[in-house]
Amino acid sequence: MEGYNTMSTDSDPIWNDNRDTTDMESIWEKNRRRIDDQVEINAMLATGTATDPDVTSNETTTITVDDQAITLESDSTLLDGLTKVDTEEDVPALCSYQKDDRIGPRSTCRTCMVETDEYGLVPSCSFPAREGMDIRTDTPAASETRDVNLDLVLRGHNLLCTTCGKNGRCELQEVSIEDEVEHPRYGVVHDRDELDPIDESSPFIQIDRNKCILCNRCVEACNDVQVAGVLRMEGQAGDMRIGFQNEAETMMGSTCVSCGHCVTVCPTGALVEQDIVEEATIPLPGFTHANSVGKVIGEEYTSRPRRMSPMYTEEHTEEEPKIDEQTDSIWQYSDNE
């Protein structure tokens, strides 16, 4: 069988993580696209997400939304058209983020589906506006698809709004109210055994994956906007979750610099500033967000408040950090920055 493996030396299977093979040029590097004037950042960022094509239009177009004609400039998606008019039915487009075009569209939640003559049901957040398209928000198929997908999102979400710091400022809560969801058809996560522990390691940012809807905004904010390269998507199917590019288990074990951009883009209570974790909760004595979930990781860090994670500090100090066994003085070191 020896002979069968001869090719493996010059074509590594891709699932062998190639991020650390700096001394070895992988075969796909040879024709990696290089665009002039663009920073080559792929080498250091491993977000675990697909490189999507440009899903916006490349010319000015006029489309019709629920019988209303709208002219859209170049670089538009159908959702840009929907937001300009009063649509017949509400289109949540929950996971889209329109404040920064470097973030999204991710098109994960599919609560933005609308009906078109030519292409059938399409995701408005990530479908290029094309000249003459006729769009309806109120066909039975479009409504049903948005409703079912919203319930699928809710099924994966810990709906403990009363102990959530984002209560009242949560995009998922908002669209669920607008959509008049009373009993999500697939239920919600209510079994405490199903819950993931809360990551309390960072003094600034709390991660509660039970509330994460995998919209990927934080990963893009972290990588495409801040170019910090901390967060990534990992796992497949039901195991998919937000993780860290250095494979740490906790935020404080990652290379996070606590810039907080991920928190500002998070639509739910998955990423919240520690200061406001309890901000919007209903005051019930002895009942907190943390004990509502009941499991916490990263407590070893909580007694040592630090702006940046130790990993980041170690990597970015100019001199070698000196660790005093007795006093753990590496912590002292970063104070002198």
Binding site: S8, I14, A50, C109, R110, P123, E144, T145, V148, Q236
Partner: protein, 498 residues
Amino acid sequence: MQGREVLHAAREPEVSVPTIEVGSTGARALEPLVMATHEGKTAFYPQCSLMRARDLVAALDGGSLPTNGAMAVTEHDSDTATLPTPDEGVLAVGCRRVLGACGWVVPANVDDYLTSGEFLAATAASRADEWLSELRDAGLRGRGRGDGSRDTPIADTWTTIQEISRERNSDPAVVVNANESDPNAEMDRLLLESNPLAVLDAALTAARTIGATNLLVYLNGEEDLARDRVGAAAAELTNEIGADIPIEAIAGPDEYKAGEMTMAIEALEGNHRLEARLRPPFPREEGLYGRPTLIHTPRTLAQVRALFADSGDQVGHVSGPGSRLITVAGDVETPITIELSTDDTLSLVKNAVDFDGQLKAACVGGVFGGVTRTLDVPAHANALTAAGLGTNGVVELFDQTRCMLSVAGHRAAFAEEENCGRCYPCRGGSQQLASMLRDIYDGEFNAEKIRELLRVMRRSSICQFGHDAQRPVATTMNEFESEFRVHAEGRCPNDTCI
């Protein structure tokens, strides 16, 4: 590996009889298959023992063709380029238009390849327009779930890529998507193992026709023999035709989702985690590293080669000409890959396997195919789609003992485990689907709620994975809803799962 031992045994006697190693014919049940050829006659010896192999060689050395105990003896031209197929037996089922050379020629051997005609790629540049119009006139469609033009006319794709690359001044790329991890779909691997030059010749022809500058063969990392032979064939082709378009072979993971066309591109670009890309634009517009990318399966390329080699002669159904490779599996001893003309009906597959008893149902189109009670459906894409079946070339036969809820449930569970996770209708949808099917065993069966979810998965998933994943359940419910109900009452009609 048994085949290697037999070959070794045949080479033991010190005689002047040449012995060659060929690829599979597709009929695995016959293997190790030895063919003894002498003066325009060939004798077939299926499941050949080591001793028989030695005896055959000795007899041939004595100047006669041994026929004692042969499955069949056929007469043919002494320089035939294709397997001299017997008139009876499993090798006679359907046609052997693209399989013809499989099991007869030495894989990746240029002299053997040239017996069936010149390299198409050698004249591709000068005949590009002629072939493109042949392709258009024939209306040949892409085959296989991983094809960038699956079930649609491939001439449109070729033309689109030519136009876009001109507009954007961008060099197209060609990807041969051979990473088919559907548990039963053996046809792409068969082509690569038995006649890799035919696939690569057609791929290089396509590359030259559309003006591509790279040709990548995307393989399954677990299929060592296919990798080996593709590597050898690529080297030969470069040697014979020229190195103007580099041919690279890259392996991806042995996972079902990795065969989806955009995940194939993600894998080729070296992403450590695979998930589907949004579309449109499709890879033909923006694919590998943003370049317009032609993605064809080996199955499609074999059809392209057959069409061009026959100078545009059409066979099969007018709406989707050519033939279709089908692996017949399910409740059969050994799966077999055969070839049907697209105007044949699928019921021919029963002649290719030992299938005892009465057919209860069949799943057509692979793990996410459609379930049907009848195989009286033509093998062309329009007919298969109209019947709610899949086009991914697998026909699984189920006998009367099969529990159809368990057939559907296993496929829902497969979808639940294997999806990339990117979109809710697929990730969350397959979770809920599997869970609602499990609930049937607890007495809860809500057909309307399941159907609603199936519709949403089909209509709103990002890629073909989610679109197809609902099909086995949807079609099984259409045909066997009463079996589902009986389970909710606590009884399995086949006593297999409760």
